[in-house]
């Protein structure tokens, strides 16, 4: 009898619990002047929010911190670097020394004035080898940066802040005319004096971090969400616009993957999310999307220049044949639901200096491809074993690589897809252990050299120059462009370098450029502006009603 009583009691208890819980239920969801985003944290919570540590491509940190400069994307095809926390910036003749005059009317969200010393504090903190994050190598741009990161120096020799004259002087380790663009990158954002009181700098992002952007943290981050509210002390963007009607509260909620996030979006639990693979058409039909916006990123294949079969000057015709045999349009439709743009070069639109249709051999032309392949064979070359197209497994590249294999077979080039473990793929590629290697690159900051230098300069061999491309003429053009202050001349030099890379050497095979990937509820959101780096300009989001 006792056990029967327990069983009945359990059932009654459960019913009571459910009834109690039901009675307590009310309404929820984003309402009024608030926004719930399900796109930023797909896959897991924020790894970092601290601008010294964050490496994500989302715009959240940009909403919390402003830098010395920012990009004005009023004309998306021609973004302009403008001073933001600086009232002006100036380089010396060879762009080796930069002077930023800091505005006097700028404060952090706690009211503390932003001074040159706020930058010195932030930069010393972010280059401290015990704390430095994954982007800390950018301090190598600055004189003494390498020594600081290596632990051989205690401060950055090239940085000098004078609060009296509100001037920040930066001496670079080598002339660099795009430093004003890099200086706007989040790594170089200022820090308030509160960080000096921390015992452990890692605690900063886990507490109520103080910033200077259009938004501030409403509460410390959790594993489930990050909540931002308006920073009423924000002084406005590069054009002085304070966006007074900006959304008052933004909740960034964590979702496991794009499909479950999309389910939650469709269930009304969020106002925007990322479009899951293969659902672009569905999203465009039922909601509003950012799939029309160009993002500064390129999907390409690096060709190992040290490989005897495909690399080096004697195999240019084979590489040209491969590039011209690829049906980029079909790949875009079949795999990306049309949500990419066929690549016409390596450097995408939105990067100052970008030249449309730069690549001569990046469009499908099977006859030309076949001819180039025949000419390559006629020169005494033969393909004894199938070409290997390597890619990192588990990241959704299988189908694309298989389509390329089929494209190549159609003109008589035997190839095979080779999947490699994702954990070791990029380290192996960096060591030259691949033949035709899948790759992709999103701009860290909108500068032409972020593509030409980082991906193809000989100084980047062993790093992101995955094809180990080495051409002294190319290096010379890139080096000169990096020193050149005049934007038009600089753009011309970078374009010449890229033409050499693609049209003469065919050292890489670009496939497509990325597009915006957000879907949002048009009944709630009137406009969702995305900048050229794919980041949402949160302060510019407009809600209906």
């Amino acid at each position: 009898m006792r056990r029967v009583g327990f069983g009945s009691g359990l059932v009654v208890g459960l019913v009571a619990v459910v009834l109690l819980a039901t009675a307590c239920g009310g309404s929820s969801g984003s309402a009024g002047d608030a926004l719930v985003d399900l796109s930023t944290f797909i896959g897991g919570p924020a790894e970092h929010l601290d601008p010294a540590l964050d490496t994500s491509t989302t715009g959240l940190v940009g909403a919390l911190y402003d830098g010395l400069t920012d990009l004005d994307y009023s004309d998306p095809a021609h973004p302009l670097v403008k001073p933001l926390l600086a009232e002006s910036f100036q380089a010396n003749a060879d762009a080796s020394e930069w002077t930023f005059k800091i505005r006097k009317d700028m404060t952090f969200s706690n009211g503390e004035q932003i001074k040159p010393s706020s930058f010195v504090r932030a930069w010393e903190r972010a280059s401290d080898p015990d704390f430095a994050g994954n982007y800390s190598y950018l301090f190598n741009f600055i004189e003494g940066g390498k020594a600081k990161l290596d632990g051989a120096a205690t401060s950055l020799a090239g940085v000098e802040g004078d609060d009296d004259s509100m001037t920040l002087r930066v001496k670079l380790s080598a002339p660099y005319s795009n430093f004003a663009t890099v200086a706007g990158f989040q790594l170089f954002a200022p820090m308030p004096s509160a960080v000096d009181k921390l015992k452990d700098q890692a605690d900063w992002e886990n507490g109520l971090m103080i910033g200077n952007g259009p938004y501030k943290l409403a509460s410390p981050r959790t594993d489930a969400e990050v909540v931002l509210i308006r920073n009423d002390k924000w002084a406005g963007d590069v054009n002085g616009n304070k966006w007074p009607d900006r959304v008052s509260k933004i909740t960034f909620r964590v979702s496991a993957d794009p499909d479950t996030a999309y389910n939650a979006f469709e269930a009304g639990e969020g106002d925007m999310t990322a479009i899951p693979p293969g659902r672009t058409k569905d999203a465009e039909k039922n909601y509003a999307t950012t799939s029309h916006v160009d993002i500064a990123g390129v999907y390409y294949f690096a060709v190992n220049q040290e490989d005897p079969v495909v690399g080096g000057p004697k195999n240019v015709l084979l590489r040209r044949a491969i590039s011209q045999a690829i049906d980029r349009g079909a790949i875009n439709e079949a795999i990306y639901d049309g949500n990419r743009a066929d690549a016409t070069g390596v450097t995408p639109a939105g990067i100052p200096g970008h030249k449309p249709k730069l690549c001569t051999f990046c469009a499908l032309d099977r006859a030309a491809a076949k001819l180039a392949f025949d000419q390559w064979k006629a020169a005494g070359n033969t393909l004894r074993t199938p070409l290997k197209i390597q890619f990192n497994a588990g990241a959704g590249h299988e189908e694309l690589v298989q389509m390329i294999v089929d494209n190549l077979k159609a003109i008589g080039i035997e190839a095979e897809a080779e999947s490699r473990p994702g954990e070791t793929y990029f380290s192996e590629v960096a060591q030259g252990k691949c033949q035709i290697c899948r790759s992709g690159w999103f701009a860290d900051y909108p500068a032409y050299d972020n593509f030409m230098f980082d991906l193809f300069h000989s100084d980047s061999i062993g790093g992101n120059n995955e094809g180990r491309y080495h051409n002294a003429a190319f290096d010379g053009l890139v080096d000169e462009a990096k020193r050149t202050v005049d934007p038009a001349r600089q753009a011309g030099l970078f374009q010449q370098a890229e033409e050499l890379l693609l049209n003469t050497d065919m050292a890489a095979i670009p496939i497509n450029f990325y597009k915006g990937g957000e879907v949002y509820n048009p009944k709630k959101i009137a406009s969702l502006p995305i900048d050229g780096l794919g980041k949402v300009a949160w302060e510019q989001v407009k809600l209906r009603g």
Partner: protein
């Protein structure tokens, strides 16, 4: 009985030591250098200086035995270290996640106990009836459908469709997260929280409930045909009384084991359910930490899961011994 319990408790120590030592060794067998992956190496080629600094900071360039010794020294002081990824204290991460996991596990187990056992009993007592056949089909389906498929379908049926058809908010369940996270008596959801709990709890319980129902049915059928049940009926008990007083206790032996193991499992291995519903629990955190080679998180959280599992096993064994005195008597006789 006391000696039996003490012996079982002492066995927990070598179990934990072996389990975690094995995991520690396994970590270094996995492909990919932890420091490179921490520096973002799964997505791009990283700066060698950054990798070097990570190695130094976390002692990853120390010999393995030194790292192993350090690990146990810290663990014995209950210092589980800090996450390589976001530098949060593992003790903090553990606190949040373990509570979420235990709450979800409690509800999944309650569903399993209440529905699994009742359905199994009904099926056994109405053998070959339509409801019995229906139970067989439904439990087979529930065991066979993958968790993420079931989760996705339920999200669509109880959250997406109601929203699209404009049902009142209180009739719609939630698909993601833990909601306002308000609870009474530790495990009873209050306010909006129940709407976040229902779907993950049901999905997590689906497979084990089906298994518990089938096991209860099979076990009960075996017991119903036993001699002592015939004796019970012969001495005048009606069918229901015989089942409650004599059948149930014996039939529950294997079911208790199953439920115990399930409870241990759902605390630390509910990865798919936690992922599908973005429920911030231990399982998904452990899985993520393995992928990102976040050793302190993997080790710290696994330690707790192993602890929970061994404690649950102990409880199961003790209750087993309580349900069937032959077990403890046999143990005592052998000692």
């Amino acid at each position: 009985m006391f000696r039996y319990i003490v012996r079982r408790i002492l066995l927990i120590i070598p179990t934990i030591f072996l389990a975690l030592s094995f995991l520690f060794a396994l970590f270094f067998v996995l492909p990919g250098d932890p420091a490179t992956l921490m520096a973002g190496g799964a997505n791009r080629i990283v700066d060698p200086g950054v990798v070097e600094r990570i190695n130094e900071r976390y002692g990853l360039d120390d010999p393995l035995l030194v790292q192993f010794g350090d690990y146990w020294k810290r663990t014995l002081q209950w210092d589980l270290g800090e996450s390589f990824q976001n530098r949060r204290s593992v003790n903090d991460i553990l606190g949040d996640k373990a509570v979420n996991s235990v709450r979800l596990a409690i509800w999944a187990t309650l569903i399993e106990v209440v529905f699994g056992i009742s359905i199994g009993l009904l099926s056994a007592m109405r053998r070959y009836s339509i409801s019995d056949k229906l139970t067989t089909v439904v439990t087979a389906v529930a065991s066979a459908v993958p968790v993420f498929v079931l989760g996705f379908l339920l999200q669509y049926a109880f959250a997406v469709q109601p929203h699209k058809h404009g049902w009142p908010d209180w009739m719609r369940l939630r698909t993601q997260g833990i909601g306002p996270n308000t609870w009474t008596l530790f495990f009873i959801p209050t306010g909006q929280t129940w709407r976040y709990l229902v779907l993950p709890a049901v999905v997590l319980a689906a497979g084990s409930t089906a298994l518990a129902a089938r096991m209860t049915r099979g076990s009960m059928l075996e017991v119903l045909g036993a001699d002592y049940m015939r004796t019970a009926r012969a001495k005048g008990l009606d069918g229901h009384q015989a089942v409650w007083h004599h059948g149930l206790r014996n039939a529950m032996l294997p079911v208790v084991t199953l439920i115990g193991i399930d409870f241990g499992l759902v605390i630390g291995a509910a990865v798919l359910t936690e992922k599908t519903f973005s429920w911030p629990g231990l399982g998904s955190e452990i899985a993520d930490s393995v992928i990102s080679r976040d050793l302190p998180v993997t080790m710290g959280l696994t330690l707790v899961v192993v602890l929970a599992f061994t404690v649950v096993n102990l409880v199961v064994d003790v209750s087993y011994a309580w349900l069937d005195p032959r077990i403890r008597l046999g143990q005592d006789r052998n000692s």
